[in-house]
């Protein structure tokens, strides 16, 4: 069968199991947009190419399938660099197709030409410039294999226009042949045995659960391991939901804005069992002072993560689910006795941890009378007035931290956010992608006013394509997190952070984009507005929550500081936290 390169590309995407793609056409990709009309793949037309990339990310986050985006050359390719980098940092499987000028024009500074493979080399797991239409099926098959196996990540395929137009003889490869790419899933038994020894003797163990567990679909295995060994679990920003927040062993989120118990339990642990996390600086604070007494077991499918920040005592290369299941098998007694019988006595540690939980819960104060409206109150009301399996999507900043802190995540794949890159504007398009992937679920974006203004135009795409996401803007009229740092570390000298509470008119803007728009100014209005929003299923909804400008995210470990120096904020008893109960 003779096909054009463009037809071969679409057919290859279909063969790869693609059901949905996000994109926007233009000159160099025009040949491929013709067979889009004949394809079984749903195409969601975006308003800006960055939106296509973030939608593909949101889709991938909640479905576990690779997200697919397609845009043209030049400015479209540069516009999708941010999502590529975001996906690279957070290990999200994406396949992005970009148009390119004709082969004969490459290097001539042609209209809408840019060196897309050169620009994206640093932010993709791999990329391809297609030079022969006969290579298209092989390259597409390889791209999906690379994106979804090992440590997942984005792969870009740059497709020159003349290659799209040229003819090829159709085939579909049975397998991929990548001699330089052999990710290791299976774990080394000797390393597992060493890890088991450390777990048996640890008196203050903590499981440091990372996003790799979600990629490996290891939530159930994690729960079995934690329960069997009765070990507390902290869930990083990328791993929220992998272990239920309501579980007695869950300590919640660690890190710069983690809760006191999660931060301090890690800091004072004698064993950290890192499952698919990467000792990110937002978790460790100053790595020289991080968990100084802890031995480290580090499970990661990417061997380069071992020793990158912290040298592990036991490095386990492999798939997180395979590793956790191997640990379970090795720790489970063959005689039917309780696994905990073979472990060190941890009663003192458990009582210390529960003491912290009691003494230093996350807290805020919503004044009676409803004013000013506290952002944490909004998050709690959203949490309590939406289905338990609601998917929550955040942008980056204060609202993201409040969402992570005050939501209760009890199911995996219900939390979508930009962790590593910290991309403002992520929430609206990622929520749209999540809703496309899980139309059966309620999807709420909890966004900030600064973030919303970066990518809000994608709500037009959502209205046009009938994708009923809901957006709650925690509108404090500021670039709030920057303001918080200026207040705390720059003597309240607020430089270029005021955005205005009234411009834009969010309700008017939402309505202009085909959404329902609601404004909320007091605590009393919160629940009725959420109830109204939940009842709308034929279009997106935007609620402009006017929240207290002065509210800050606590606890907080100042950047570069030690996790011992956690600041609890006005609601907490900082002196007790810093000096009193914590054993040294």
């Amino acid at each position: 069968m003779e096909l054009t390169g463009a037809q071969a590309l679409m057919r290859s995407l279909e063969m790869s199991g693609v059901e949905v793609m996000f994109g926007l056409p233009g000159g160099a990709i025009l040949p491929v947009y013709d067979p889009v009309l004949d394809s079984s793949i749903r195409h969601v037309l975006v308003r800006h190419e960055q939106g296509a990339g973030h939608m593909a990310q949101g889709y991938a986050h909640v479905t576990g399938k690779p997200g697919v985006a397609m845009v043209t050359s030049g400015p479209a390719a540069t516009n999708i660099v941010t999502p590529l980098c975001d996906a690279f940092m957070d290990s999200i499987p994406l396949v992005v197709v970009t148009g390119q000028v004709a082969m004969s024009a490459i290097g001539s500074d042609a209209f809408q030409e840019c060196d897309t493979t050169g620009i994206t080399m640093a932010v993709t797991k791999h990329n391809y410039l297609v030079t022969d239409p006969a290579d298209i099926p092989r390259i597409v098959a390889e791209a999906f294999h690379i994106a979804t196996t090992g440590r997942p990540g984005p792969v870009l395929i740059d497709l020159p226009k003349d290659v799209s137009n040229a003819m090829m003889t159709w085939y579909w490869p049975d397998s991929v042949d990548l001699p330089g790419y052999q990710p290791q899933r299976d774990v080394d038994a000797a390393a597992i045995a060493e890890a088991v020894q450390l777990i048996r003797t640890a008196e203050r163990p903590v499981i440091y659960a990372g996003g790799g567990l979600l990629k490996a679909r290891a939530a159930e295995a994690l729960r079995e391991l934690a329960e069997m060994c009765d070990i507390h679990v902290v869930t990083t920003l990328m791993a929220r939901g992998v272990f239920p927040d309501r579980h007695r062993l869950c300590l919640g989120m660690p890190g710069m804005h983690g809760n006191y118990t999660a931060v301090t339990a890690m800091q004072q642990a004698d064993l950290l069992i890192n499952l698919g996390a990467r000792f990110d600086d937002r978790v460790t604070g100053n790595p020289a002072h991080f968990a100084p007494d802890a031995k480290v077991i580090h499970v990661d499918i990417d061997p380069a993560e071992h020793g990158k920040v912290r040298v592990p005592d036991v490095a386990i290369v492999g798939d997180a689910k395979v590793a956790v299941e191997a640990l379970i098998a090795a720790l489970r007694p063959s005689d039917g006795s309780a696994a905990t019988d073979a472990l060190a006595d941890r009663s003192a540690w458990k009582s210390t941890v529960s003491g912290w939980q009691e003494q230093f819960p996350l807290s805020y104060d919503q004044p009676s009378g409803g004013h000013p409206l506290k952002p944490q109150y909004v998050v709690e009301q959203l949490r309590d007035h939406t289905p338990d399996d609601t998917i929550v999507v955040a942008g980056v900043g204060q609202h993201q931290m409040w969402a992570s802190q005050f939501w209760q995540f009890d199911y995996p794949y219900t939390w979508v956010n930009s962790g590593g890159l910290g991309t403002m504007g992520f929430a609206v398009p990622a929520a749209i992608g999540a809703k496309v992937g899980r139309p059966d679920r309620t999807v709420w974006a909890i966004d900030g006013d600064g973030c919303f203004q970066m990518t809000a135009q994608e709500l037009i795409s959502a209205s046009a394509e009938n994708i009923p996401v809901k957006v709650g803007i925690l509108n404090n009229a500021y670039l709030g997190m920057v303001r918080q740092w200026q207040e705390l570390f720059y003597a309240e000298r607020y430089s270029e952070v005021y955005l205005s509470a009234d411009h834009p008119d969010y309700v008017g803007w939402a309505e202009a984009m085909g959404c329902v728009g609601i404004r909320v100014e007091s605590a009393e209005e919160v629940v009725p507005a959420i109830t109204k929003a939940n009842a709308v299923n034929d279009r997106p909804v935007v609620i402009d929550f006017r929240v207290d400008t002065d509210e800050k995210v606590y606890p907080m470990v100042p950047a570069g500081g030690s996790n011992d120096d956690i600041i609890l904020g006005p609601e907490g008893d900082a002196d007790a936290a810093l000096k009193g109960t914590a054993p040294s």
Binding site: G118, A122, L129, T131, P179, G180, Y181, A304, G307
Partner: protein
């Protein structure tokens, strides 16, 4: 990359070389797919991870599908394992191994245009290193010397008084010695 061919190597130079190394230079040998952009991927990785390339030599292997790259890295402030692991993550890198100087044979080729009013004196210097005069005219000569890079450094210093008008060195290449243990799995680097 063919500099070692056609030159007469002294017995000393063909022995396993264990001359003192600068302490922060490490040699990596990588077999890579001979594809568009591979060198850019490697150079880009070094730059964005803050690894410092001291020298780099690339050419196809006996199988033209692959190239062999010898990279000398200044590992000051860098974890050597990180360099190898990050390089190994590149899809086009088939394998990577570190070559320890004590287990390896190293060579580098130098071409130099030198002042040669006294051609005999120049010839005396380079013949000590198995070099040869390739061209001469108007009181200048182009010489070629292939040797262990440390010996090449000495040769270069000895040529300097004659006037080193143009100097081109290739960067080192290295092979694991025949009696050294093979550390890498897969294709032999």
């Amino acid at each position: 990359m063919s500099g070692a061919q056609g030159t007469n190597l002294s017995p000393e130079e063909t022995a396993v070389v264990s001359l003192p190394q600068e302490p922060d230079l490490h040699i990596f040998a990588a077999i890579v797919e001979n594809k568009f952009g591979v060198l850019a991927r490697i150079a880009g990785l070094f730059s964005r991870r803050g690894f410092n390339i001291f020298s780099l030599a690339v050419a196809p292997t006996a199988d033209p599908e692959y190239s062999r790259i010898t990279i000398v890295v200044d590992v000051h402030n860098t974890d050597v394992n990180q360099i190898a692991k990050q390089l190994d993550k590149l899809v086009n890198v088939i394998n990577i191994s570190e070559l320890h100087p004590s287990d390896s044979l190293e060579r580098e080729l130098m071409l130099a245009r030198v002042g040669a009013v006294d051609l005999e004196a120049v010839t005396d210097v380079i013949s000590e290193y198995g070099g040869e005069v390739l061209d001469q005219a108007d009181g200048e000569a182009i010489v070629s010397v292939s040797a262990h890079p440390d010996r090449l450094d000495r040769c270069e210093r000895q040529l300097r008084p004659f006037g080193l008008h143009v100097l081109q060195r290739t960067g080192r290449i290295a092979l694991r010695a025949l009696d050294a243990d093979e550390p890498a799995v897969g294709m032999t680097a």
